[in-house]
């Protein structure tokens, strides 16, 4: 066997290892129900949940509580299957949080609380204005 063949095999081996590890390290998009199940089965890995903020009939966001030290807050999120969940975030509220159309929280359940480590907001208005008021 030539040295270059060994080298090639080595490179392919590393590449395959990278593919496998990517699969293992990837997070998943799940619903709150599945996330809760995962947590109660002892799987504490971080997952993504996509959903919206809870709003009243007038479209105002409800259920946001700010911590006394103003560096944390909780909110109510509704996932794609309409399940409501209180989500806790140990950071100050992101500025355009209440205007977001869609929220992706990344985190995990601790008991019955969902603790978000990271929040991604989708605010189309940031890039594209769809309405105009005269």
């Amino acid at each position: 066997m030539k040295k270059s063949h060994i080298f090639l095999i080595l490179v392919i081996a590393v590449a395959i290892a990278l593919v496998i590890s990517t699969g293992n390290d990837a997070s998943t998009y799940v619903t709150f129900k599945d996330a809760h199940q995962m947590a109660s089965n002892g799987n504490s890995s971080q997952i993504h949940v996509v959903g919206e903020l809870k709003k009243d009939n007038l479209g105002n966001v409800v259920g946001i509580y700010e911590g006394a030290d103003k560096v944390s807050f909780t909110f109510i999120m509704i996932d794609d299957q309409q399940k409501e969940q209180i989500v806790q975030y140990n950071q100050p509220m992101p500025a355009d949080f209440t205007k977001s159309e869609k929220v992706v929280v990344i985190g995990s359940y601790q008991g019955d609380n969902f603790i978000a480590e990271k929040i991604l907001l989708k605010c189309p208005s940031k890039y594209q204005e769809d309405t105009i008021n005269a």
């Binding site: 080298f7 990278l18 998009y29 890995s45 971080q46 030290d69 560096v71 950071q91 100050p92």
Partner: protein, 839 residues
């Protein structure tokens, strides 16, 4: 309504599309012709078509900028991305704020590069420009905005559509089709930064220039000039590597200065999408250089050059098709171009693969086995590591594409990118970086000297010893213990020391050849800077206020943010941190003015001064940047005082409050602070119940724990905000309050009007105290003073200390300098050959 200019723009877009197709056809014909006269006439045709195309692109750019600069808000692009308040340099960045404009910027650079290539190449002109013109046609189609009849398929999204066309459903246009908005939506405040004026053009020039090596490679395969394409392609590959690298780091620097995630690199898919092609580009540069010296690695060069360009197209697809939707915070939204983008990607992917496969057998390759002591071996190892490094990032970044892909086959995948991107990518990339560091130290010795085993030892002995010594010092001072960090420090220092030694010996012989050594020194510095600024970034603002957030929170959490009340210092991480004041920035460039020293007016950009100050008097109207509030935060440690002014931008149109950090820079470390939460300006203040007390002139009393004194009570004839009649009586009290930093004055009024008592309270916002003159007791010479208190003004901040980050920025510049020197050298080689009539 300015219809003409939009129609002109649209016409020019169509012209640019057709002329690029014409140039493609003519150059294609010219490439295939053997007959010299026929070839010349097709060449001329191609050249004219491409010049027409380039002029059309220039025309489109001028037209679009005219629309923006003249505030023609009847056009969607101007309305959505600009407003009347923006200064000129931000109007320029408006140009590439939208997706259409960024395509245009890309086309613009490629048109210029095409013209340069036409004028610097003879032999290669026809085949290279064939590829160029085809790419331009694809890009032009992205902004075509033409709907195909019958099948009703829209090609491209035009930057010249009217607002009423883009918002056909808006009621206002049904009532008033001629309606033109008064002002536009403005530019995202985060983009109102000088880096956003300069960073996108640099990045897109980098994108555009990757087309050149690719075109030469394709031309070489096409004309079976397998060996010759490398010479003209190499200087451009170096140019591309320098510009793209600079563009990426400028983006990082912008993020560091403007955004508030606390760093310069976030492993966001959008960032990865440019990082990966750059790694492959650098790998291809290495194999091309090897080929130039030793006739090996030609096939590897071809594969890498093609891969680089395909990855650029792939990253375009990723960021612009909307596929990253749930994965990235800042990708473009889908403009309905995903189909078109996919076609663009696949045409070049399969075109390049098919051409390379057909020619593969004919491509010369050397059967010579590379010895472990040859430079080829080491460079090839380095290039392979770079590719694997890119591959590792590419995989998770492509997860959203994978999810879409499997749905085509009816399956479903709910894979998401890794939750903690920073930790995830870092744990892999650091090992690749270590390997790169060692290889570029050792490899460079092989490159410059024919070396065998014993000589290697002799050459490396001194640099290794010096590097180890320096590493030990760094490791001791920095208290580094993690194995990966230790290795990276040694690798980076070894690269710097080893390449410095080589640099010294090259400088003596021929400075023009020093590019490689300088570039590798820069890379070593960058590795050190990245390691310390990211690995040893410490949070200074740890929360120890003792205010607990109890609701449902069972555990103690890491709180990296800190609530600061005005003038109440906190001590943490060895610093005294104090929130001093809120400031407004004066438009005349004279610095800041205290927000409490001015009276706001309905126009947010105008305020009235309440006291005399530097260059203005009380009651002067001052022009300020009303959107921006700067929070003066003082950090004190060991007798050093840093003042930082992080900015909060209040902009309801753009989604509330945006904060940007302020950075105190020293060579040793950067001190980085931003406001993570501020008081909402329109929020009602909650006052406590009034406390009343009786006091006399010049007698101290406590108001909200501050020592206060009524120093004067006088009858006055004027009360601001009311008109007094003859029978009315008004009395003003002057109350002095000793704050922690200065003495404040409050002047409440007491008036009797039509036998009714009226009271005008006075607030000291700095202290959160409201004084009311409740009653006057002339019989005892006493007064009843009422005080209400509220929570003091506050701000929540996050502060980080980032060691050695400036080594990263300096290293970047050194790397760029190395690229530039190498590029000039390679271009000279190409020119020499051209003068000999070889190209």
């Amino acid at each position: 309504m300015h219809y003409f200019i939009g129609n002109l723009g649209h016409f020019l877009v169509i012209l640019s599309f057709i002329s690029s197709l014409a140039a493609f056809f003519a150059y294609f014909k010219a490439t295939g012709k053997e007959d010299i006269e026929e070839k010349a006439s097709w060449l001329l045709n191609g050249k004219i078509s491409f010049y027409v195309h380039a002029l059309a692109v220039l025309g489109i750019s001028i037209t679009l900028f005219t629309i923006i600069a003249n505030h023609y808000f009847e056009y969607h692009y101007a309305f959505s991305h600009s407003d009347k308040k923006l200064p000129t340099h931000y109007l320029i960045s408006t140009f590439w704020n939208g997706q259409e404009g960024s395509f245009l910027l890309w086309m613009f650079w490629q048109a210029i590069l095409g013209v340069i290539l036409i004028n610097t190449n003879k032999f290669w002109q026809a085949p290279v420009m064939t590829i160029f013109a085809l790419v331009q046609a694809f890009l032009a189609s992205m902004i075509l905005g033409v709907v195909l009849p019958i099948i009703d398929f829209k090609i491209g999204s035009s930057p010249f559509i009217l607002l009423r066309e883009s918002m056909a459903d808006a009621p206002i246009f049904k009532m008033q089709p001629e309606f033109i908005p008064e002002d536009g939506n403005g530019l995202n405040p985060l983009l109102q930064n000088y880096w956003m004026v300069i960073h996108p053009p640099v990045l897109f020039l980098g994108f555009a220039s990757t087309l050149i090596p690719f075109s030469f490679c394709m031309a070489g395969l096409w004309l079976k000039k397998y060996r010759d394409w490398v010479r003209p392609a190499l200087p451009w590959a170096l140019f591309s590597g320098a510009v793209l690298g600079l563009g990426i780091l400028m983006g990082g620097y912008w993020a560091y200065e403007t955004l508030n995630f606390g760093g310069y690199w976030n492993w966001d898919p959008v960032e990865n999408a440019v990082y990966v092609p750059w790694l492959f580009l650098v790998a291809s540069i290495h194999t091309m250089i090897t080929y130039k010296n030793s006739e090996t690695a030609l096939k590897a060069s071809i594969i890498l050059v093609i891969t680089t360009f395909i990855l650029i197209l792939y990253s375009t697809f990723l960021t612009r098709s909307g596929v990253l939707g749930d994965a990235s915070v800042h990708s473009f939204t889908d403009l309905g171009l995903s189909g078109q983008l996919l076609v663009y990607l696949l045409v070049f992917l399969f075109g390049a693969i098919v051409l390379a496969t057909i020619r593969w057998k004919e491509i010369p390759s050397s059967d010579k086995e590379a010895s472990t002591y040859s430079r080829e071996f080491w460079i090839f190892m380095g290039a392979t590591t770079l590719c694997l490094m890119g591959f590792q990032v590419l995989l998770p970044t492509s997860i959203p594409v994978w999810n879409k892909f499997v749905t085509i086959f009816g399956a479903s995948s709910n894979m998401a990118p890794p939750a903690d991107q920073m930790a995830y990518y870092s744990k892999f990339q650091i090992w690749f970086a270590i390997v790169i560091g060692f290889l570029s130290a050792v490899g460079q010795f092989f490159w410059w000297k024919k070396i065998d085993k014993s000589e290697l030892k002799k050459e490396l002995q001194v640099p290794v010893l010096i590097a180890l010594l320096i590493s030990v010092i760094i490791i001791t001072i920095g208290q580094v213990t993690k194995p990966a960090y230790l290795l990276l420090i040694i690798a980076a220092v070894l690269t710097i020391v080893g390449n410095s030694k080589i640099l010294l010996s090259i400088l003596k012989k021929n400075p023009a050849l020093s590019g490689g050594a300088i570039a590798h020194i820069g890379m070593g510095m960058m590795l050190l800077g990245i390691l310390f600024s990211s690995g040893y970034s410490t949070v200074v603002s740890l929360n120890n206020t003792g205010l607990l957030y109890s609701r449902d929170a069972g555990e103690e959490f890491n709180r990296d943010n800190l609530l600061l009340f005005l003038h109440e210092p906190r001590t943490m991480a060895g610093y005294d941190i104090e929130y001093i004041s809120q400031k407004l920035e004066l438009r005349n460039g004279d610095g800041y003015i205290d927000k409490y020293d001015v009276q706001l007016t309905p126009d947010e950009d105008k305020v009235i001064a309440l006291k005399d100050g530097d260059g203005y008097k009380a009651k002067d109207t001052l022009q300020v940047f009303g959107e921006n509030t700067y929070f003066e935060i003082e950090f004190r440690k060991d007798g050093n005082v840093y003042k930082l002014y992080p900015r909060a931008q209040i902009n309801p149109d753009m989604g509330g409050i945006l904060s940007s950090p302020d950075i105190h820079r020293t060579l040793k470390s950067d001190f980085y602070t931003y406001t993570s939460s501020i008081m909402k300006p329109d929020e009602e203040k909650e006052w406590s119940e009034m406390q009343e007390l009786k006091t006399a002139l010049d007698k101290d009393f406590f108001a909200n724990d501050y020592v206060s004194t009524v120093t004067n009570v006088v009858k006055v004839d004027e009360v601001p905000g009311t008109i007094l009649s003859q029978d009315d009586v008004a009395v003003k009290a002057t109350i002095k309050v000793k704050g922690a930093r200065e003495e404040y004055t409050a002047e409440p009024y007491f008036l009797i009007r039509d036998k009714m008592v009226g009271r005008i309270s006075a607030e000291i916002p700095q202290l959160g105290v409201l004084f009311t003159l409740v009653n006057i007791h002339p019989e005892t010479n006493e007064f009843t003073i009422g005080t209400n208190t509220r929570q003091k003004d506050w701000v929540v901040i996050k502060s980080l200390e980032k060691p050695l980050i400036n080594v990263l920025w300096i290293g970047t510049l050194v790397l760029m300098a190395g690229f530039t020197i190498a590029m000039l050298r390679r271009y000279r080689e190409f020119q020499l050959m051209k003068e000999k009539g070889q190209e």
